[in-house]
């Protein structure tokens, strides 16, 4: 596609519910990142994939968070037993190479998760 697509755009979950957030990167992009952005804050790194390999998951806040990219394209971020502190915008970004060099990363518009 023309850009990074994230779905759903908005998600309201009841506390304790599991959610799955989808990221469809630009076709052929090797690198994929997930970020969590709380209101008024900068994006906080969650995890990084190069193709299907999850090279860095040091930012995942707890074992309730799980990300996968089984075929090296679409990625899913899963949050189990959601808590109110999980409420945030979840951003996905992709780039053509191992690192983005001079062309930067392309970000999706994000999924706004509200846990009630």
């Amino acid at each position: 596609g023309a850009g990074v697509s994230q779905s759903p755009r908005y998600k309201v979950a009841k506390r304790g519910q599991d959610v799955a957030l989808r990221c469809d990167p630009i076709s052929g992009h090797v690198s994929l990142f997930w970020y969590q952005q709380a209101l008024g804050q900068g994006p906080e790194f969650l995890t990084y994939f190069q193709n299907e390999a999850q090279l860095d998951k040091s930012g995942l806040p707890s074992d309730r968070f799980f990300a996968e990219r089984p075929e090296g394209s679409v990625s899913t971020l899963k949050i189990q037993r959601t808590q109110q502190e999980d409420s945030a915008v979840y951003l996905c970004a992709s780039s053509p190479g191992g690192h983005a060099a001079n062309y930067g990363y392309t970000f999706g518009s994000g999924t706004r998760l509200t846990v009630v």
Partner: protein, 107 residues
């Protein structure tokens, strides 16, 4: 990981005024990105700086990376309401971001 500190946290300027936003790293940067985020939207790539002393411009926005590659400044000349948003710096080596600078431009 890299710690990036941005200042100021927020800035309100009158249309037409110049302004500068700073980004300081705790470690030497391999490269630094500047992004802009409009409220409620994704990040838009502005530019990337890699070499010490490098300066790049995009329309009325100029960014510089110091010789030691630990500090970058982003300068907007003759600001316009369309410049309003959150400006974020990010480290190329680990793709972590600063907390952002929220810019408001009053017409």
């Amino acid at each position: 990981s890299q710690e990036l500190e941005q200042s100021p946290q927020s800035l309100i300027v009158q249309e037409g005024k110049n302004l500068t936003i700073n980004c300081t790293s705790s470690k030497t940067l391999y490269g630094l990105y500047w992004y802009k985020q409009k409220y409620g939207e994704g990040l838009i790539f502005l530019m990337m700086l890699q070499k010490g002393g490098e300066e790049k411009s995009h329309e009325k926005i100029t960014a510089k990376l110091d010789e030691k590659k630990q500090q970058s400044s982003l300068h907007i000349t003759a600001s316009q309401p369309s410049h309003a948003g959150i400006y974020l710096c990010g480290a190329e080596n680990d793709m972590r971001f600063g907390a952002g600078t929220r810019l408001t431009v009053k017409p």
